[in-house]
């Protein structure tokens, strides 16, 4: 049973003649992490909006094809400062904004909020005013707000754009944990190609609104066409090739280090 199914989806923004998505099909299973990669204008963000049911319902435009979700979903957009509710005095209330809107009983809200804040490591910020947070802190709070709604399908648009290196790595580990322990399905639009192999089960390469390639990271990220015409392969792959190293291309630094033979 898939959590999200897109069948032949095409989407046009209002007053746009060229579609932002063309004939896109995608199915996401429980506990699966799918990474959407592509250059600017590839359509990854639009795909997430369509998957969340926001396009065309909220953004307008026209959609053909079929989008089906079988579980509750939550989406995190790339700009955290426009996602703050503006209706909370504290970070704790900000994280509780979504669950409260869903009408959950109060005894369900606070444990869910606590768990989400613990996972995003924002417990220390609980009593802070959201307006005083840095970009990275705010992004983690917004992510916690999405997790607190306990979605079966999590849609993330550049979720690490405001995070530092260690925060980014911790977040990708959390994505894996959510998929493994909570059986959450996660679809992530990201330009962090280096990290994709570490967190994604499947990669979908988008180009000008079309699916150009899809498959496991070990296939897509080392594909010759992807390396030549895609958004840029993982740095470790490029370094491996530039150094003239032989053998299959490694996807992670650990993999490369294990295979690298000192001259």
């Amino acid at each position: 049973m898939t959590r999200l199914t897109l069948s032949g989806v095409s989407f046009w923004y209002p007053a746009a003649e060229r579609p932002a998505l063309t004939d896109v099909s995608l199915a996401v299973a429980p506990g699966e992490v799918v990474a959407l990669v592509g250059g600017v204008g590839a359509g990854a963000s639009t795909l997430l909006l369509a998957a969340a049911g926001l396009a065309p319902r909220v953004v307008g435009g026209r959609l053909t094809g079929n989008v089906e979700r079988t579980v509750a979903s939550a989406i995190v957009l790339p700009t955290p400062w426009t996602q703050v509710s503006g209706m909370a005095f504290t970070v704790r209330d900000e994280v509780a904004f979504g669950p409260a809107n869903l009408g959950w009983p109060i005894e369900r809200i606070w444990p869910a909020v606590g768990r989400a804040m613990e996972r995003l490591e924002v417990g220390a910020l609980a009593e802070r005013d959201p307006a005083t947070l840095s970009g990275g802190e705010l992004q983690r709070v917004i992510l916690a707000g999405a997790l607190a709604m306990e979605p079966g399908l999590l849609l993330l648009d550049e979720p690490t754009a405001e995070l530092d290196s260690s925060g980014t790595q911790a977040f990708w580990r959390l994505v894996r944990t959510l998929a493994r322990e909570d059986r959450a399905s996660v679809v992530v639009a990201t330009s962090d190609i280096d990290a994709v192999a570490a967190f994604a089960d499947r990669v979908v390469w988008l180009e000008q609104g079309r699916v150009r390639g899809a498959g496991p990271p070990a296939e897509v990220l080392v594909d010759e066409a992807f390396l030549r015409e895609g958004p840029g392969g993982p740095m470790v792959v490029l370094a491996w090739r530039a150094a003239g190293c032989a053998g299959p291309l490694p996807l992670t630094v650990a993999d490369a280090a294990a295979r690298w033979v000192r001259p």
């Binding site: 909220v58 426009t82 996602q83 209706m87 005095f89 509780a96 979504g98 669950p99 409260a100 809200i109």
Partner: protein, 219 residues
Amino acid sequence: MRRLHPFTLLALAAALPLLAWILPAPRGALAPALAAATLAAAAGPRRVLLPALLTAAPLWFFLFILHGVGGMLVFGVRLTAMIASFVWLVAVLPPARLVEAMVAAGWGAPSAYLFAATLSAVPLLQQRARRIVEAQRCRGLSPRGSPLARLRALRALALPLVLSALHEVDERALALETRGLGAGHRRTPLAPPPDSALQQAARLALLLACGLALAWRLR
């Protein structure tokens, strides 16, 4: 004042301008206008009262040009009561508390949010305007000098302010939708502000005062 129930603050902010418009001006309207100015001064002479007076001052000037001294006094006092009440309300009523109170009273979350967003728009726009002015200063634009230079600076502020606000409306609508605001559920109040019989009586008294004043004027 901040501890009062949001509905009490709203009732005060609505009743004072209403009385100022209902009662004969300028003498009758002077009391509610003074009350509004006093509330604004109590909330912060520089932070609340001064911006209210500065906002009202140009209106007094235009009223003087259009209607002379008499008309200026009649309408100026009433407009000042309105402006001072609104600025005071924005200063003392955090939108989050208003939403909680409205939701606890049975309002739908989207309509409560819409109402509260009106109050939160002013400080948000002020904050953004400050950031834009700082950015324009970094690029060499000075908001000081001759009236012409100030007008140029105003244009450089207004356009990005309006455009960025419009752009953000889209993103904010999306974000609120994703966080369940339009899901159609009855929102759970997280911390409904405490109300009291005394405050309820005060609200009723304000309503009665407005009704009686209207009846007296229409008799």
